[in-house]
């Protein structure tokens, strides 16, 4: 990878999800590809859910981040292969728990660590989250839906 490409890739990878600001689009697996076409940076991203309203904001944030480093860019949406929670990194799962969000596929309560948790609602405040409750500490918490 050329130094120039590495530099823009680092800029793009730092862009955060507007709904989960402690996670970058790289952590979430939303970022698929960064490449140059001439002097234009072409970034490919993929939606977590088909109707994810954050995708438009993410595209604008990517363009803004690159513009602040004087790069022209184009953001493309790719659908295949379809995103699943398996695209999330280990770092992402740890950051989710730190932010009080249950990690997909895990029963652990992000507040007290207990595995005595259960589903309260299969849907939550965003397209990618459900609502769970911990029977040990009685706290409800958003849970990142397991999506395969």
């Amino acid at each position: 990878m050329s130094a120039r490409l590495e530099a823009v890739r680092a800029i793009v990878a730092e862009v955060c999800d507007p709904e989960l600001p402690s996670l970058t689009i790289q952590d979430l697996g939303v970022l698929r590809d960064v490449r140059f076409e001439g002097d234009t940076v072409v970034v490919s991203i993929t939606p977590t859910y088909s109707g994810c309203p954050a995708l438009g904001v993410i595209a604008e944030d990517i363009a803004a981040a690159l513009r602040s480093h004087s790069f022209e860019s184009r953001v493309e949406t790719v659908l295949s292969p379809a995103w699943t929670t398996d695209w999330m990194s280990e770092a992402a799962r740890a950051k989710l728990m730190d932010a009080g969000v249950g990690a997909p596929g895990s029963r652990a309560c992000p507040n007290c660590g207990s595995d005595q948790t259960r589903s309260l609602s299969e849907y939550g405040s965003t397209a990618c989250q459900a609502l769970h409750v911990c029977d040990s500490c009685s706290e409800t918490f958003p849970y990142f839906k397991t999506h395969r």
């Binding site: 659908l79 849907y123 609502l131």
Partner: protein, 255 residues
């Protein structure tokens, strides 16, 4: 509606898939602020959002195939009732929560068969959209089937209401798995699937859940059709009047 030319088969076929989702999303959105509890409202609105997202991808694809003659928004908001080719099921109004879940249950069961079949479409875009929609449909089905079971196998009142909803909606379900000429041509091209091939698995999926819910599968032989050729029940016009109002009143308006 006149039969499309060979080149027109794909966009016309994609349009009917998208219309089912858009109209269903609009119906579900009517439940915003009217859900029985907050969690349920979120569930219904999230399902609507997923449906709307897939519809938007499909409308954008139609716009692209057509060479940009009209935008995705124009396709959604500036066509009249006779130009919509959604199935009759999704435009049916709801009087109570059992109607909402019954309608969603029949549609989710259909999408649980349709999208996996379309994942092997010869059309790469349609296959990619389907792969994503299939995962979402399974999640929606778990929710709607869960409610059908809970209401059907619940109190005498909830069971009676759920059975009434199933009986009322049943006549609009046959259309889902009835092939017309366009379906057959799309299937022959390798881009679409013949919905009649999915009838048996749909019936099995629905029957299994209705059994578990202790509900009776209706044996009413009458099945209404017409949505696929733009002949709708009176309800679609009212729905479109509300959905399209802003764009009709303020042409070209954007957020």
């Amino acid at each position: 509606m006149t039969a499309p030319t060979a080149a027109g088969v794909l966009p016309t076929y994609v349009l009917r898939l998208a219309d089912d989702l858009l109209i269903n999303a609009q119906r579900l959105s009517e439940f915003i602020t009217r859900g029985p509890e907050l969690e349920e409202e979120l569930a219904i609105v999230n399902t609507a959002l997923d449906n709307l997202g897939v519809a938007q991808q499909l409308y954008e694809y139609v716009s692209e195939i057509e060479g940009g003659a009209r935008t995705a928004d124009e396709i959604a908001f500036l066509r009249s009732e006779r130009e919509f080719t959604n199935c009759l099921l999704v435009e049916q109004p709801h009087a109570d929560f059992a109607d909402v879940m019954g309608r969603q249950f029949f549609l989710d069961a259909w999408h649980c068969e349709l999208w996996p079949a379309l994942e092997s479409s010869g059309d790469a875009t349609l296959a990619a959209v389907a792969a994503k929609a299939a995962k979402e449909a399974r999640y929606h089905f778990r929710h709607s089937a869960g409610w059908v079971i809970r209401l059907g196998d619940g109190t005498p009142e909830s069971a009676a209401r759920m059975q009434r909803a199933v009986n009322t909606l049943w006549k609009f379900t046959g259309e889902l798995t009835t092939a017309d000429e366009l379906d057959q041509r799309a299937a022959a091209q390798g881009s679409g699937v013949d919905p009649s091939d999915l009838r048996a698995p749909w019936q099995e999926r629905v029957g299994e859940m209705l059994d578990e819910a202790r509900l009776t599968v209706p044996d009413d032989p009458y099945q209404a059709t017409g949505g696929r050729s733009g002949r709708h029940t009176e309800h679609l016009g009212h729905l479109l009047a509300e959905m399209q109002f802003m764009q009709r009143a303020y042409p070209g308006m954007e957020w």
